[in-house]
């Protein structure tokens, strides 16, 4: 990014609109990058608490944010992600989107439900809580 910064510096500085420290901050601390977010859900909100007895609260989490251009190992992204990024940036094909921020790992969830016939089921389901995000 050095040449980017130097070319920026050559531009005439508008006193009111340009704050150097703010400008540098966006490079040092990436904003809105792909990361895991909490989302606490209670089944009573969905009016499902009559048949989902436990857990009372469920935090499925979700992934949201921008995928940096050179993802590399920090996200555990495959090489394919970089190739897709290049196709997107070179606009080789409009239908190819930028890589997305999606869950990469999950943990299971135990659920206690009352079945329609009145019996009670304890079940353990795979992949119900996102624990890690990736770009791909």
């Amino acid at each position: 990014g050095e040449d980017t910064v130097s070319s920026e510096l050559q531009k005439p500085l508008g006193p009111a609109a340009f704050n150097l420290s703010e400008y540098f901050k966006q490079f040092l601390f990436p904003q809105n990058e792909c990361e895991l977010h909490d989302f606490r859900l209670s089944f009573s909100q969905l009016k499902w608490d009559s048949w989902i007895v436990a857990p009372h609260r469920y935090n499925p989490r979700y992934c949201k944010g921008d995928c940096p251009r050179a993802v590399g190992q920090r996200y555990g992204s495959p090489v394919h992600t970089m190739v897709q990024n290049i196709i997107y940036e070179k606009q080789l094909d409009d239908s190819v989107p930028r890589p997305s921020c999606v869950p990469a790992q999950y943990s299971p969830l135990s659920v206690l439900t009352v079945e329609p016939d009145g019996s009670i089921a304890y079940k353990e389901y795979e992949d119900m809580i996102a624990t890690k995000c990736t770009c791909r």
């Binding site: 135990s110 659920v111 079945e115 016939d117 079940k123």
Partner: protein, 289 residues
Amino acid sequence: SQASREEAQIATSAELESEAEPWSLPQLPGGRGRSGLLSPLFKVLCDGSGGASGLQADSGALRYMKRLYKVYATKEGIPKSNRSHLYNTVRLFTPSIQHKQASVDQATGAVQSVGLQFNLDRVTAVEHPLKSVLLYTVSDSASFPSAAQCMCHLVWTEPEPSSQMLPRPPHSFSFESQPKSRKKYKWVEVDVTPLLQPLVASAKRSIQVSVNFTCVRDQLQPPSARDSPISLVPPSLLLYLNDRSAHAYHGWYSLHNKGSPLQGPGQRGPSACPPGGGAARAVRSRHRR
């Protein structure tokens, strides 16, 4: 060993299952398709109507299953990592009562003969039965002796005679009643796995059984306790199952597989029952050394 063969079968069938299972096909509740969480989720996504409605659960059964949930899962609802059992599904069925006779025998205490019918419609084809238990809820703990010698007589009564099945002889076995909880409610579990296994595994949708349950009091009890009759609610049926489908959690498989180099052909695999199996414990101690 049997257990490791079973694990291999489960792993291959889980792979087959995931390939064959069309995720995108929603199946509505009420049919024999998916049970538990997925059908209602599909229903919500398909036609927007909320969740599954149905019969009320029995409060005693609900109390037991909430307690079981706390034992098996963390507050966040994640299955606890220290589990050592193979099943990822536990179903509790409350019976419909066919007939009931009760008489009190001074020597042996209350004798109750109860005809019960359990409707197992919710057990799906991918849920493999591992253990079956008759669960007695004793709400009046004062009248139930903490230690008693109990005798349970089970007589299977088939809903319709089927040519392949030979009439089953009555089964009776005795056990020391070990109420499971010190609190107001007690539960007595009677393991009927060997007796019920063929019926549940044969995908029978309805099981009828006549149960006689007698308890001989412990002589050390004060006379007053001995005289008061035992009040027993007809038992529920607890099925421990292993759901082999791709969306069920098989964490135990990876947990136990991590230890697989230790498990040579001569060693037993993980127990299908709750911890306490001697062999399972023996494997662990060797591992530590």
